[in-house]
């Protein structure tokens, strides 16, 4: 099964707080592939809000995203876009 891996940086001011976490999880759940997101110490399921919030990732943090499955490439592209846009926040 192809694995797609990339790194993203958090650019929005308050980091991966509740609202971005919701958007991230919603996006992840649109895909069939398994998606993991991790910081230096923790790797979590990108499809669960509580898990994502547990990363407690602030601005400037670099996260690694790994997706496994058929639509992995597309999923990662979508997620990278969300991070790059700062989840639509100022």
């Amino acid at each position: 099964m192809p694995a797609v891996e990339t790194e993203v940086e958090i650019v929005n001011k308050y980091g991966l707080h509740a609202r971005p976490a919701v958007l991230l999880v919603e996006a992840a759940n649109r895909f069939g592939c398994k998606i993991e997101i991790s910081n230096s110490s923790l790797s979590v399921d990108a499809k669960s809000i509580m898990s994502v919030m547990r990363l407690a990732a602030g601005k400037g943090t670099v996260l690694k995203i790994v997706a496994y499955g058929e639509d992995a490439e597309q999923a990662v592209r979508e997620i990278v876009k969300l991070f790059a846009d700062g989840f639509g926040e100022e």
């Binding site: 308050y14 980091g15 707080h17 609202r19 919603e26 809000i49 919030m53 407690a56 602030g58």
Partner: protein, 581 residues
């Protein structure tokens, strides 16, 4: 085992498992679910999640329209959380492996989340309250109609809550509620009054008790010492059982007083009446040696949680039952004293900013005439069955009194025309419970058949203290010289005009004040039924002459502290023994 200190407001000891109601009135059942019922619980839970998600979608839309998308986005978090795989997995584990009820699974899993969030950076910790919000929503959808659980208990329990609303206390199942323990409140909070009336041990002012006790934990409520013991060890339980037996002996001692007259050593007769809220409390009053009902509160029909407004006949039946049970003894019925409660607030166009200074009590009645007239009709009809008087609460001006009296006359004329049996000449008095009424004692006495001093409100309005606010509750005292001055003036005004004066506030049942009140000239006390024997014991142990001397001395003091110290000393001198402490 944990011991929590509060204020004992109703004596006695109750040992029972706890039912913990949070502010939203939920009783979270902790019982184990048999494994074959696990799937049923999961189905309930999934349905509650589904309904909650639907509610949140609607809420989001409405909020977005009204307040804007930014604010509405928080409901996405709530919804997202409820759609979370991990969360559902944990719910499922708790129910299927932990054999928990759906409610208990929701509470434990979400509270664990809340705790976890609290330790995270502030921008995430702020979401803790959202987790609680989601928990409440789920519980509401799970429990639905079962929320007013106090009326349908199947086992003996101690009820723990932040504070009980009047409608909750009205719904208490007296067969199963053994004791009450509240985070909030003071000696004169509604819960305290009701607990004393029902003869249930109660402790209030325990701050964060409900956060520390789980439903089903055994707790001891010690209303004598103002203590709650959480999960007591067997030794403590044994000691408490012995203590409870001793208390029963003291009660037996007081019972011996029941059939003796309330008369002072120098031969002055005193009338001791009971305050009640429910018709079946008449029995308690008579059992304690009460000579009638000095305050019959009539709000219960409105606060009992029924959907429909009580009709004239419902009220007539309740009043009639009280009069019949009193069998010729006097009954003083107070007209609706609604206000600052769910009933009136639900009917207010906008919530009142200061309900205690708002549309309450007689004011509410005079602005809701059909409701008021309905009650008066019921009262006048019931009045044919025995010696009934009616009193109007919270009178602040002579015009209010005149208006209320003219409505009574009006209603009597209607009944006359309709040829319905009624009593037209029912005596009409007022509650003196505002400084304005107390200061206008002479004017009001000329147009009243009697006065009843309502010291709870009189103290609140004189000292500007909310007795339910634990942060200032200690400032609430009948011993304040300003309060005592008003009481004295009202008794004097009554004497000048030949208008009988009674006192029906909590003060009447507190033996500390009995001598002082006798000395100020009070001869009619109306108190919570269980306090009658203690007051009678004081009455029978003192002379009016000594009391008058005491009153003169006390009225010269400048602070409540001096007053209380002096009264405690005098009571101990007159009545050595357990009561004085």
């Amino acid at each position: 085992m944990k011991i929590k200190k509060g204020i004992g407001v109703s004596p006695g000891v109750a040992i029972a498992p706890a039912v913990v109601l949070d502010i939203e009135e939920f009783d979270i059942p902790r019982r184990q679910v048999p494994s074959d019922m696990g799937q049923v619980e999961m189905r309930r839970l999934r349905k509650a999640v589904e309904v909650s998600r639907k509610e949140l979608a609607d809420l989001r839309e409405r909020t977005a329209e009204r307040v804007g998308k930014e604010v509405a986005s928080i409901f996405d978090f709530h919804r997202g959380l409820l759609g979370d795989k991990e969360l559902m997995g944990k719910f499922q584990d708790a129910v299927l492996q932990g054999h928990a009820t759906a409610e208990y699974a929701v509470a434990t899993v979400l509270r664990a989340y809340a705790k976890e969030l609290q330790s995270m950076p502030a921008y995430l910790a702020d979401r803790t309250k959202d987790i609680y919000d989601v928990e409440k929503r789920l519980l509401r959808n799970l429990l639905g109609e079962k929320r007013e659980s106090l009326a349908h208990l199947t086992r003996d329990v101690n009820v723990l809550a932040h504070d009980l609303t009047p409608s909750q206390t009205a719904g208490i199942d007296r067969g199963h509620v053994r004791g009450l323990a509240m985070d909030a409140g003071g000696r004169t909070s509604h819960t305290a009054i009701v607990a004393r009336a029902l003869g249930i041990p109660a402790v209030v002012g325990l701050n964060d008790l409900t956060a520390e006790v789980g439903g089903g934990d055994v707790v001891i409520i010690d209303g004598d010492r103002g203590v709650v013991v959480v999960e007591p060890d067997t030794r403590t339980i044994r000691e408490y059982k012995r203590f409870a037996e001793q208390q029963v002996e003291l009660v037996h001692e007081l019972e011996a007083l029941r059939d003796l007259p309330a008369i002072t050593l120098d031969g002055h007769e005193v009338t001791l009446l009971g305050n009640i809220e429910f018709p079946d409390e008449v029995g308690t009053v008579l059992d304690q040696g009460g000579q009638g009902i000095g305050l019959y509160r009539t709000e219960f029909l409105y606060l009992g949680g029924q959907k429909e407004e009580p009709g004239e006949d419902d009220q007539y039946r309740a009043y009639r039952e009280v009069i019949d049970r009193c069998a010729g003894r006097p009954v003083v019925i107070r007209t609706l004293d609604l206000g600052a409660d769910k009933y009136t607030q639900a009917r207010a166009r906008t919530p009142e900013r200061n309900p205690f200074l708002g549309l309450r009590s007689i004011r509410f009645c005079l602005q809701n005439l059909p409701m008021f007239r309905r009650q008066i009709r019921a009262i006048l009809r019931a009045g044919t069955a025995g010696p009934l008087s009616v009193m109007f609460p919270l009178i602040t001006s002579i015009l209010e009194l005149r208006q209320a009296k003219s409505i009574v006359r009006d209603v009597a004329e209607d009944l006359e025309e309709e040829q319905i049996e009624h009593r037209a000449d029912v005596p009409m008095g007022i509650m003196v419970e505002t400084p304005s009424a107390a200061l206008q004692g002479d004017a009001l006495a000329r147009e009243s058949d009697f006065f009843s001093l309502g010291t709870n409100d009189l103290i609140q309005y004189t000292l500007a203290v909310d007795r339910g606010n634990e942060r200032v509750a200690t400032m609430f005292t009948a011993a304040h010289p300003a309060v005592l001055r008003l009481i004295k003036d009202v008794i004097r005004a009554g004497q000048r005009h030949g208008v009988p004066v009674s006192l029906c506030g909590e003060m009447a049942g507190d033996p500390q004040f009995t001598m002082l009140l006798l000395g100020l000239g009070l001869r009619v006390f109306s108190c919570t039924p269980l306090s009658i024997p203690r007051v009678k014991q004081v009455v029978r142990s003192v002379t009016v002459q000594d009391c008058t001397r005491l009153a003169r001395k006390v009225m010269g003091f400048d602070s409540d502290r001096e007053v209380l110290t002096c009264l405690a000393l005098e009571l101990r001198r007159a009545l050595p023994g357990s009561l004085a402490d």
